[in-house]
Protein backbone atom coordinates (compact mmCIF):
# COMPACT_ATOMS: atom_id res chain seq x y z
CA UNK A 1 0.00 0.00 0.00
CA UNK A 2 1.39 3.40 -0.96
CA UNK A 3 0.57 5.85 1.80
CA UNK A 4 0.95 8.96 -0.33
CA UNK A 5 -1.70 7.68 -2.72
CA UNK A 6 -4.23 7.12 0.02
CA UNK A 7 -7.48 8.59 -1.36
CA UNK A 8 -9.17 10.82 1.19
CA UNK A 9 -12.76 12.02 1.26
CA UNK A 10 -12.98 14.54 4.08
CA UNK A 11 -15.24 17.55 4.61
CA UNK A 12 -12.41 19.97 3.94
CA UNK A 13 -10.50 18.01 1.37
CA UNK A 14 -10.94 15.40 -1.28
CA UNK A 15 -7.94 13.80 -2.99
CA UNK A 16 -4.72 11.91 -2.33
CA UNK A 17 -2.81 12.21 0.93
CA UNK A 18 0.32 13.75 -0.66
CA UNK A 19 -1.77 16.57 -2.15
CA UNK A 20 -3.20 17.27 1.30
CA UNK A 21 0.33 17.51 2.74
CA UNK A 22 1.40 19.80 -0.07
CA UNK A 23 -1.52 22.15 0.51
CA UNK A 24 -0.92 22.18 4.25
CA UNK A 25 2.78 22.94 3.86
CA UNK A 26 1.93 25.70 1.37
CA UNK A 27 -0.65 27.05 3.84
CA UNK A 28 -3.34 26.75 1.23
CA UNK A 29 -5.32 24.50 3.49
CA UNK A 30 -5.96 25.29 7.15
CA UNK A 31 -4.99 22.28 9.17
CA UNK A 32 -7.54 23.22 11.82
CA UNK A 33 -10.21 22.33 9.26
CA UNK A 34 -8.74 18.93 8.52
CA UNK A 35 -10.23 15.95 10.31
CA UNK A 36 -7.08 14.00 11.15
CA UNK A 37 -9.08 11.26 12.84
CA UNK A 38 -10.89 10.87 9.50
CA UNK A 39 -7.55 10.29 7.76
CA UNK A 40 -6.70 7.65 10.36
CA UNK A 41 -10.10 6.01 9.85
CA UNK A 42 -9.60 5.92 6.07
CA UNK A 43 -6.18 4.37 6.49
CA UNK A 44 -7.52 1.71 8.85
CA UNK A 45 -10.34 0.87 6.43
CA UNK A 46 -7.86 0.39 3.57
CA UNK A 47 -5.73 -1.77 5.84
CA UNK A 48 -8.73 -3.87 6.80
CA UNK A 49 -9.66 -4.38 3.14
CA UNK A 50 -6.25 -5.83 2.45
CA UNK A 51 -6.65 -8.42 5.16
CA UNK A 52 -2.98 -8.39 6.11
CA UNK A 53 -1.08 -5.75 8.01
CA UNK A 54 1.35 -3.80 5.85
CA UNK A 55 3.97 -2.88 8.44
CA UNK A 56 5.96 -0.64 6.14
CA UNK A 57 2.90 1.41 5.30
CA UNK A 58 1.95 1.63 8.98
CA UNK A 59 5.38 2.98 9.82
CA UNK A 60 5.28 5.62 7.14
CA UNK A 61 1.73 6.56 8.02
CA UNK A 62 2.69 6.84 11.69
CA UNK A 63 5.40 9.40 10.97
CA UNK A 64 3.23 11.47 8.66
CA UNK A 65 0.16 11.54 10.88
CA UNK A 66 2.27 12.31 13.95
CA UNK A 67 3.67 15.29 12.03
CA UNK A 68 0.21 16.46 11.03
CA UNK A 69 -1.14 16.07 14.54
CA UNK A 70 1.73 17.99 16.03
CA UNK A 71 1.24 20.85 13.60
CA UNK A 72 -2.47 20.83 14.20
CA UNK A 73 -2.16 20.71 17.98
CA UNK A 74 0.13 23.73 17.80
CA UNK A 75 -2.34 25.59 15.65
CA UNK A 76 -5.21 24.76 17.98
CA UNK A 77 -3.52 26.08 21.11
CA UNK A 78 -1.88 29.29 19.99
CA UNK A 79 -2.46 31.09 23.29
CA UNK A 80 -0.99 28.37 25.42
CA UNK A 81 2.07 28.20 23.28
CA UNK A 82 2.69 31.78 22.34
CA UNK A 83 6.31 31.21 21.53
CA UNK A 84 5.69 28.28 19.28
CA UNK A 85 2.81 29.90 17.49
CA UNK A 86 5.23 32.58 16.40
CA UNK A 87 7.02 29.99 14.37
CA UNK A 88 6.36 29.94 10.67
CA UNK A 89 4.77 26.68 9.52
CA UNK A 90 8.07 25.86 7.85
CA UNK A 91 9.90 26.37 11.13
CA UNK A 92 7.27 24.49 13.06
CA UNK A 93 7.65 21.54 10.74
CA UNK A 94 11.38 21.73 11.20
CA UNK A 95 11.08 21.94 14.96
CA UNK A 96 8.74 19.01 14.91
CA UNK A 97 11.07 16.98 12.74
CA UNK A 98 13.92 17.89 15.07
CA UNK A 99 12.01 16.62 18.10
CA UNK A 100 10.90 13.47 16.42
CA UNK A 101 14.50 12.84 15.44
CA UNK A 102 15.69 13.56 18.98
CA UNK A 103 13.26 11.15 20.57
CA UNK A 104 13.95 8.55 17.91
CA UNK A 105 17.68 8.82 18.53
CA UNK A 106 17.17 8.44 22.27
CA UNK A 107 15.20 5.27 21.54
CA UNK A 108 17.86 3.96 19.17
CA UNK A 109 20.55 4.65 21.73
CA UNK A 110 18.47 2.86 24.37
CA UNK A 111 18.10 -0.14 22.06
CA UNK A 112 21.84 -0.19 21.55
CA UNK A 113 22.42 -0.09 25.33
CA UNK A 114 19.92 -2.93 25.81
CA UNK A 115 21.78 -5.10 23.31
CA UNK A 116 25.07 -4.23 24.88
CA UNK A 117 23.82 -5.06 28.37
CA UNK A 118 22.63 -8.42 27.11
CA UNK A 119 25.98 -9.12 25.43
CA UNK A 120 27.95 -8.03 28.50
CA UNK A 121 25.73 -9.92 30.91
CA UNK A 122 28.55 -12.28 31.81
CA UNK A 123 30.78 -9.42 32.92
CA UNK A 124 31.75 -9.78 36.58
CA UNK A 125 34.10 -7.48 38.41
CA UNK A 126 34.63 -6.48 42.00
CA UNK A 127 32.45 -3.70 43.36
CA UNK A 128 34.11 -1.94 46.25
CA UNK A 129 37.47 -2.37 47.92
CA UNK A 130 39.53 -5.54 47.77
CA UNK A 131 39.33 -7.74 50.90
CA UNK A 132 42.96 -7.25 51.90
CA UNK A 133 43.46 -3.71 50.60
CA UNK A 134 44.60 -1.07 53.07
CA UNK A 135 41.78 1.05 54.47
CA UNK A 136 41.83 4.51 53.03
CA UNK A 137 41.24 7.44 55.27
CA UNK A 138 39.70 10.43 53.55
CA UNK A 139 41.06 13.57 55.03
CA UNK A 140 39.50 16.94 54.41
CA UNK A 141 41.42 20.22 54.42
CA UNK A 142 40.14 22.99 56.76
CA UNK A 143 36.97 24.52 55.30
CA UNK A 144 35.47 27.99 55.35
CA UNK A 145 32.24 28.19 57.39
CA UNK A 146 31.05 30.83 54.92
CA UNK A 147 30.77 28.13 52.23
CA UNK A 148 27.90 26.59 54.23
CA UNK A 149 26.03 29.88 54.29
CA UNK A 150 26.61 30.31 50.57
CA UNK A 151 25.25 26.82 49.88
CA UNK A 152 22.12 27.43 51.93
CA UNK A 153 21.50 30.85 50.36
CA UNK A 154 21.77 29.24 46.94
CA UNK A 155 19.11 26.73 47.97
CA UNK A 156 16.88 29.60 49.13
CA UNK A 157 17.35 31.58 45.90
CA UNK A 158 14.28 31.90 43.72
CA UNK A 159 14.46 29.40 40.87
CA UNK A 160 15.38 30.95 37.52
CA UNK A 161 12.26 32.19 35.78
CA UNK A 162 13.35 30.70 32.46
CA UNK A 163 10.37 28.67 31.48
CA UNK A 164 10.72 25.35 29.80
CA UNK A 165 7.07 25.52 28.79
CA UNK A 166 7.94 26.47 25.25
CA UNK A 167 9.89 23.27 24.94
CA UNK A 168 7.17 20.98 26.18
CA UNK A 169 4.98 19.05 23.83
CA UNK A 170 1.37 20.04 24.33
CA UNK A 171 0.45 17.21 22.19
CA UNK A 172 0.42 14.04 24.31
CA UNK A 173 3.49 12.00 23.42
CA UNK A 174 3.02 8.59 21.85
CA UNK A 175 5.34 7.16 24.52
CA UNK A 176 2.82 8.04 27.23
CA UNK A 177 0.23 5.78 25.61
CA UNK A 178 2.81 3.09 24.88
CA UNK A 179 3.60 2.84 28.56
CA UNK A 180 -0.05 3.02 29.51
CA UNK A 181 -1.09 0.22 27.14
CA UNK A 182 1.83 -1.93 28.20
CA UNK A 183 0.74 -1.48 31.80
CA UNK A 184 -2.85 -2.45 30.93
CA UNK A 185 -1.61 -5.53 29.06
CA UNK A 186 0.39 -6.65 32.03
CA UNK A 187 -2.85 -6.79 34.01
CA UNK A 188 -5.19 -8.00 31.29
CA UNK A 189 -4.63 -10.13 28.22
CA UNK A 190 -7.26 -8.30 26.13
CA UNK A 191 -8.86 -4.85 26.17
CA UNK A 192 -11.08 -2.70 23.96
CA UNK A 193 -9.44 0.45 22.68
CA UNK A 194 -12.72 2.36 22.85
CA UNK A 195 -13.13 1.66 26.54
CA UNK A 196 -9.54 2.69 27.25
CA UNK A 197 -9.75 6.03 25.43
CA UNK A 198 -13.28 6.89 26.50
CA UNK A 199 -13.51 10.51 27.60
CA UNK A 200 -10.29 11.60 25.87
CA UNK A 201 -10.08 14.36 23.32
CA UNK A 202 -10.04 13.35 19.67
CA UNK A 203 -6.39 14.24 19.41
CA UNK A 204 -5.56 12.07 22.39
CA UNK A 205 -7.59 9.25 20.89
CA UNK A 206 -5.71 9.56 17.64
CA UNK A 207 -2.36 9.49 19.44
CA UNK A 208 -3.53 6.46 21.41
CA UNK A 209 -4.21 4.77 18.10
CA UNK A 210 -0.74 5.64 16.85
CA UNK A 211 0.68 4.03 19.97
CA UNK A 212 -1.28 0.89 19.17
CA UNK A 213 0.17 0.81 15.67
CA UNK A 214 3.61 1.09 17.13
CA UNK A 215 2.95 -1.77 19.55
CA UNK A 216 1.65 -3.85 16.63
CA UNK A 217 4.74 -2.97 14.67
CA UNK A 218 6.89 -4.31 17.49
CA UNK A 219 4.76 -7.49 17.59
CA UNK A 220 3.74 -6.72 21.15
CA UNK A 221 0.00 -6.83 20.46
CA UNK A 222 -2.51 -8.25 18.03
CA UNK A 223 -5.35 -6.05 16.78
CA UNK A 224 -8.80 -7.23 15.81
CA UNK A 225 -11.75 -5.35 14.45
CA UNK A 226 -14.91 -7.16 13.42
CA UNK A 227 -15.88 -4.46 10.93
CA UNK A 228 -14.85 -0.90 10.09
CA UNK A 229 -15.82 1.33 13.06
CA UNK A 230 -16.49 -1.69 15.25
CA UNK A 231 -14.58 -1.61 18.55
CA UNK A 232 -10.88 -2.33 18.17
CA UNK A 233 -9.87 -5.25 20.33
CA UNK A 234 -6.27 -5.32 21.54
CA UNK A 235 -4.69 -8.50 22.82
CA UNK A 236 -1.28 -9.39 24.08
CA UNK A 237 0.75 -11.05 21.33
CA UNK A 238 1.20 -14.80 21.69
CA UNK A 239 3.65 -15.56 24.49
CA UNK A 240 7.16 -15.55 23.13
CA UNK A 241 10.54 -15.36 24.75
CA UNK A 242 10.58 -11.71 23.94
CA UNK A 243 7.41 -11.09 25.89
CA UNK A 244 8.63 -13.13 28.81
CA UNK A 245 11.72 -10.98 28.88
CA UNK A 246 9.72 -7.77 28.66
CA UNK A 247 7.61 -8.72 31.63
CA UNK A 248 10.59 -9.78 33.62
CA UNK A 249 12.34 -6.51 32.96
CA UNK A 250 9.20 -4.53 33.60
CA UNK A 251 8.86 -6.00 37.06
CA UNK A 252 12.27 -4.82 38.04
CA UNK A 253 11.77 -1.31 36.71
Amino acid sequence: MVVRELELDLDAFEGPFDLLLTLVLKEELDLAEVDVAGIVATFVERLAERGELDLEACGEFLVLVAALLELKARGLFPDEEAELSELEPEEAAEELARRLAEYRRAKEAAAWLAERLEAEGSRFFRLGPAPLAPRVERRLAPQEPESLAVALRALAAEPPSVSLAHLELRFPPVSQFLERFRAVLRRRRVFDLDAEVDGMSRIEQAVAFLALLELRRGDEVALEQAAPFAPIRVSRAAVSNEEGRQEWIARSA
Binding site: P131, L132, A133, L140, A141, L148, R153, P159
Partner: protein, 200 residues
Protein backbone atom coordinates in the same frame (compact mmCIF):
# COMPACT_ATOMS: atom_id res chain seq x y z
CA UNK B 1 56.47 -37.99 33.50
CA UNK B 2 55.31 -37.79 29.93
CA UNK B 3 54.74 -34.23 28.71
CA UNK B 4 53.62 -33.02 32.13
CA UNK B 5 53.03 -29.47 30.93
CA UNK B 6 50.43 -30.50 28.41
CA UNK B 7 48.70 -32.63 30.99
CA UNK B 8 48.40 -29.83 33.50
CA UNK B 9 47.03 -27.33 31.01
CA UNK B 10 44.28 -29.68 29.91
CA UNK B 11 43.39 -31.17 33.28
CA UNK B 12 40.03 -30.38 34.81
CA UNK B 13 41.69 -29.25 38.03
CA UNK B 14 43.39 -26.54 36.06
CA UNK B 15 40.07 -25.44 34.64
CA UNK B 16 38.67 -25.42 38.16
CA UNK B 17 41.68 -23.40 39.25
CA UNK B 18 41.01 -20.81 36.54
CA UNK B 19 37.42 -20.49 37.70
CA UNK B 20 38.54 -20.02 41.30
CA UNK B 21 41.11 -17.48 40.12
CA UNK B 22 38.18 -15.54 38.65
CA UNK B 23 35.96 -15.86 41.72
CA UNK B 24 38.74 -14.49 43.91
CA UNK B 25 39.25 -11.43 41.74
CA UNK B 26 35.55 -10.50 41.98
CA UNK B 27 35.14 -11.20 45.72
CA UNK B 28 35.21 -8.36 48.21
CA UNK B 29 35.49 -10.81 51.13
CA UNK B 30 37.84 -13.75 51.66
CA UNK B 31 36.25 -16.93 50.24
CA UNK B 32 35.98 -20.18 52.22
CA UNK B 33 36.55 -23.57 50.59
CA UNK B 34 32.83 -24.34 51.11
CA UNK B 35 31.72 -21.17 49.36
CA UNK B 36 34.01 -21.87 46.42
CA UNK B 37 32.83 -25.49 46.21
CA UNK B 38 29.24 -24.32 46.11
CA UNK B 39 29.87 -21.71 43.41
CA UNK B 40 31.90 -24.06 41.24
CA UNK B 41 29.59 -27.02 41.80
CA UNK B 42 32.64 -29.07 42.69
CA UNK B 43 33.73 -30.98 45.75
CA UNK B 44 35.68 -29.46 48.60
CA UNK B 45 38.65 -31.78 48.20
CA UNK B 46 39.19 -30.83 44.57
CA UNK B 47 38.74 -27.17 45.45
CA UNK B 48 41.45 -27.50 48.06
CA UNK B 49 43.77 -29.09 45.53
CA UNK B 50 43.10 -26.26 43.08
CA UNK B 51 43.67 -23.64 45.78
CA UNK B 52 47.03 -25.23 46.66
CA UNK B 53 47.92 -25.10 42.99
CA UNK B 54 46.94 -21.44 42.85
CA UNK B 55 48.82 -20.49 45.98
CA UNK B 56 51.96 -21.91 44.39
CA UNK B 57 51.38 -19.86 41.25
CA UNK B 58 50.41 -16.72 43.16
CA UNK B 59 53.30 -16.84 45.59
CA UNK B 60 55.52 -14.13 47.03
CA UNK B 61 58.52 -13.50 44.76
CA UNK B 62 56.87 -15.14 41.80
CA UNK B 63 53.86 -12.95 41.21
CA UNK B 64 52.57 -9.47 42.09
CA UNK B 65 49.26 -11.05 43.08
CA UNK B 66 49.67 -13.18 46.19
CA UNK B 67 47.02 -15.66 47.27
CA UNK B 68 46.78 -15.80 51.02
CA UNK B 69 44.86 -17.87 53.52
CA UNK B 70 43.44 -15.54 56.17
CA UNK B 71 40.89 -15.97 58.94
CA UNK B 72 37.77 -16.01 56.78
CA UNK B 73 39.21 -17.96 53.86
CA UNK B 74 41.25 -17.20 50.76
CA UNK B 75 41.93 -13.79 49.25
CA UNK B 76 44.42 -12.00 47.02
CA UNK B 77 46.74 -9.35 48.34
CA UNK B 78 49.52 -7.29 46.80
CA UNK B 79 53.04 -8.73 47.00
CA UNK B 80 55.49 -7.25 49.52
CA UNK B 81 57.67 -6.24 46.58
CA UNK B 82 54.86 -3.85 45.57
CA UNK B 83 54.29 -2.45 49.06
CA UNK B 84 55.91 0.88 48.32
CA UNK B 85 53.86 1.46 45.15
CA UNK B 86 50.67 0.44 46.98
CA UNK B 87 51.49 2.86 49.74
CA UNK B 88 51.76 5.66 47.22
CA UNK B 89 48.51 4.66 45.54
CA UNK B 90 46.48 4.56 48.75
CA UNK B 91 48.03 7.58 50.30
CA UNK B 92 45.27 9.96 49.28
CA UNK B 93 46.14 13.60 49.18
CA UNK B 94 44.14 15.76 51.57
CA UNK B 95 40.90 16.66 49.81
CA UNK B 96 40.51 20.34 49.24
CA UNK B 97 36.75 20.56 49.36
CA UNK B 98 33.42 18.78 49.27
CA UNK B 99 31.28 18.05 46.23
CA UNK B 100 28.32 20.37 45.64
CA UNK B 101 25.73 17.78 46.76
CA UNK B 102 27.76 17.03 49.91
CA UNK B 103 28.16 20.72 50.77
CA UNK B 104 24.45 21.45 50.24
CA UNK B 105 23.49 18.52 52.44
CA UNK B 106 26.02 19.38 55.12
CA UNK B 107 24.79 23.00 55.20
CA UNK B 108 21.20 21.79 55.68
CA UNK B 109 22.20 19.46 58.52
CA UNK B 110 24.42 22.06 60.20
CA UNK B 111 21.85 24.87 60.12
CA UNK B 112 18.59 22.93 60.46
CA UNK B 113 19.67 19.73 62.25
CA UNK B 114 18.62 17.41 63.60
CA UNK B 115 16.97 16.77 60.28
CA UNK B 116 15.80 13.60 58.50
CA UNK B 117 16.67 12.32 55.03
CA UNK B 118 13.15 12.92 53.67
CA UNK B 119 13.41 16.53 54.84
CA UNK B 120 16.82 16.97 53.20
CA UNK B 121 15.42 15.43 50.01
CA UNK B 122 12.48 17.87 50.06
CA UNK B 123 14.78 20.86 50.35
CA UNK B 124 17.31 19.70 47.76
CA UNK B 125 14.68 18.29 45.42
CA UNK B 126 16.44 14.96 45.08
CA UNK B 127 16.85 11.74 47.09
CA UNK B 128 19.51 12.21 49.78
CA UNK B 129 20.42 8.61 50.63
CA UNK B 130 23.86 8.22 49.11
CA UNK B 131 25.02 11.74 49.98
CA UNK B 132 23.93 11.32 53.60
CA UNK B 133 25.63 7.90 53.77
CA UNK B 134 28.84 9.46 52.43
CA UNK B 135 28.82 12.23 55.04
CA UNK B 136 28.15 9.72 57.83
CA UNK B 137 31.05 7.57 56.61
CA UNK B 138 33.33 10.60 56.68
CA UNK B 139 32.20 11.37 60.20
CA UNK B 140 30.90 14.85 59.36
CA UNK B 141 27.33 14.04 60.37
CA UNK B 142 25.87 11.38 62.68
CA UNK B 143 22.52 9.88 63.60
CA UNK B 144 20.56 11.77 66.27
CA UNK B 145 17.41 9.81 67.18
CA UNK B 146 14.23 9.49 65.19
CA UNK B 147 11.43 11.81 64.16
CA UNK B 148 8.45 11.52 66.54
CA UNK B 149 9.88 8.60 68.47
CA UNK B 150 9.88 4.96 67.34
CA UNK B 151 9.18 4.30 63.66
CA UNK B 152 9.95 7.81 62.48
CA UNK B 153 12.73 8.63 60.00
CA UNK B 154 16.28 8.78 61.39
CA UNK B 155 17.50 12.32 61.98
CA UNK B 156 21.04 13.61 61.56
CA UNK B 157 23.14 16.29 63.19
CA UNK B 158 26.63 17.58 62.53
CA UNK B 159 29.56 16.18 64.56
CA UNK B 160 32.49 17.59 66.55
CA UNK B 161 34.71 16.59 63.59
CA UNK B 162 32.55 18.85 61.42
CA UNK B 163 33.14 21.73 63.81
CA UNK B 164 36.89 21.10 63.76
CA UNK B 165 37.07 20.95 59.96
CA UNK B 166 35.10 24.20 59.65
CA UNK B 167 36.98 25.89 62.46
CA UNK B 168 33.88 26.45 64.60
CA UNK B 169 33.82 26.59 68.39
CA UNK B 170 30.20 25.48 68.31
CA UNK B 171 27.22 25.51 65.95
CA UNK B 172 26.25 28.95 67.23
CA UNK B 173 29.41 30.25 65.53
CA UNK B 174 27.96 29.44 62.07
CA UNK B 175 27.68 32.53 59.84
CA UNK B 176 24.31 34.21 60.38
CA UNK B 177 21.55 33.82 57.85
CA UNK B 178 19.27 36.64 59.03
CA UNK B 179 18.53 37.51 55.42
CA UNK B 180 16.82 34.16 54.98
CA UNK B 181 14.65 34.19 58.09
CA UNK B 182 14.56 35.08 61.74
CA UNK B 183 14.39 31.56 63.08
CA UNK B 184 15.45 28.09 62.02
CA UNK B 185 11.80 27.33 61.36
CA UNK B 186 11.38 30.32 59.10
CA UNK B 187 14.48 29.38 57.11
CA UNK B 188 13.27 25.81 56.84
CA UNK B 189 9.86 26.93 55.54
CA UNK B 190 11.42 29.25 53.03
CA UNK B 191 13.75 26.55 51.70
CA UNK B 192 10.88 24.10 51.34
CA UNK B 193 8.66 26.56 49.51
CA UNK B 194 11.44 27.50 47.08
CA UNK B 195 12.14 23.83 46.47
CA UNK B 196 8.54 23.31 45.39
CA UNK B 197 8.83 26.00 42.75
CA UNK B 198 12.12 24.73 41.39
CA UNK B 199 11.93 22.86 38.09
CA UNK B 200 11.85 19.16 38.96
Amino acid sequence: MDRPLRLITASPVDRLARTIEALLVVASQPLSVEEVAEATNDDAERVETALRLLSERFAEGRSGIVLEHVAGGWAYRASREAAEACGRMFERPVERGLSAPALETLAIVAYLGPVSRPEIARIRGVAADSVVAGLVERGLIAEAGREDGVGGAIRYRSTPLFERVFGLDSLSALPRLDDLGESTNEIRERLESVAQRRPA
